[in-house]
Symmetry: C2
């Protein structure tokens, strides 16, 4: 059972008039409550050919390595969100170069968006959500201990693009 | 006053432990209710150098012209959402070529994402949310009657990219 955030009455789940999908509808106050996918925004922070990764201090995937990223917040742009997450999780100041990868993850209702970014200095440090933060060259990336498929794919695209000396924008869908 | 969708108790708005922003917090059941930006996904459908636009039959911007686009739904990829909106609003079947523009609109908590697309036939027709649907060459685009700034910017990028015979991925932030 779910309740209306506007009036606390019980919600019904059905297709509203003129719509095509079931929604949480309030018969008491007439409001409709939509659920939509969330954007996860982050960076691929580079320093001299190495990439900054964070080892997660939180679930899901505690102890696994990830790029700094998190849920985009209301009131910010996608790039501002990526900068904020990079500062929060890795204590790292970066300059964004360009959008790099956008991967839909429909089974968790998310779209993951990563920017290529340049570290401005080496004064990074673990935030509250990271156990450790470190720079990795390609051969040293802990491929078997990457937290999320979108992060692994983004890293693979990054090293492949660097090898051919041209960075593209990559879109992909996970199943 | 807002109420908890899980237990119907009144919500408080404050910063939860370990967080940095105020959230809707339920002291009765301990749940936290996040608000995040929404993705609006759509297409730039092309046929022989002309672009398909829809004249809106709904508010906001009733009577103004737009590209087919709408809120991405749970369970779909961004590209599937763009195809669905193009079919719903313009009755148009398209093939997606590539992601084309991504524009953050932080003052309404949205990110607008448009794909370049090729119309598969000319059997388009107005959906319930459109008054009319038509193909426009560049000189005929109703620039003063475009519904949204993200749509105007995307169309300008499209015609500029076509003129130089190279389509890029464009990211932008509105203020």
């Amino acid at each position: 059972m779910k309740f209306c955030p506007n009036c606390a009455a019980p919600l019904a789940n059905r297709i509203p008039p003129g719509d095509s999908l079931p929604r949480d509808v309030c018969d008491a106050c007439g409001s409709v409550h939509y659920q939509n996918p969330k954007l996860v925004v982050g960076c691929v922070p580079e320093w001299d050919g190495r990439i900054l990764l964070c080892r997660r201090a939180i679930e899901p995937r505690y102890g696994y390595w990830t790029l700094p990223a998190g849920f985009m917040e209301n009131g910010e742009t996608a790039a501002q969100g990526a900068l904020r997450e990079t500062l929060e999780e890795a204590g790292a100041r970066v300059e964004i170069i360009a959008a790099f990868s956008m991967i839909s993850v429909p089974y968790v209702n998310q779209v993951h968006l990563f920017y290529r970014a340049r570290l401005l200095d080496l004064e990074f440090r673990s935030g509250e959500e990271s156990l450790e933060v470190a720079l990795f060259e390609e051969a040293a990336v802990p491929w078997k201990d990457i937290a999320f498929r979108t992060v692994g794919l983004t890293l693979k695209h990054w090293f492949a693009d660097r090898a051919r000396a041209r960075f593209d924008f990559h879109t992909e869908d996970l199943k």
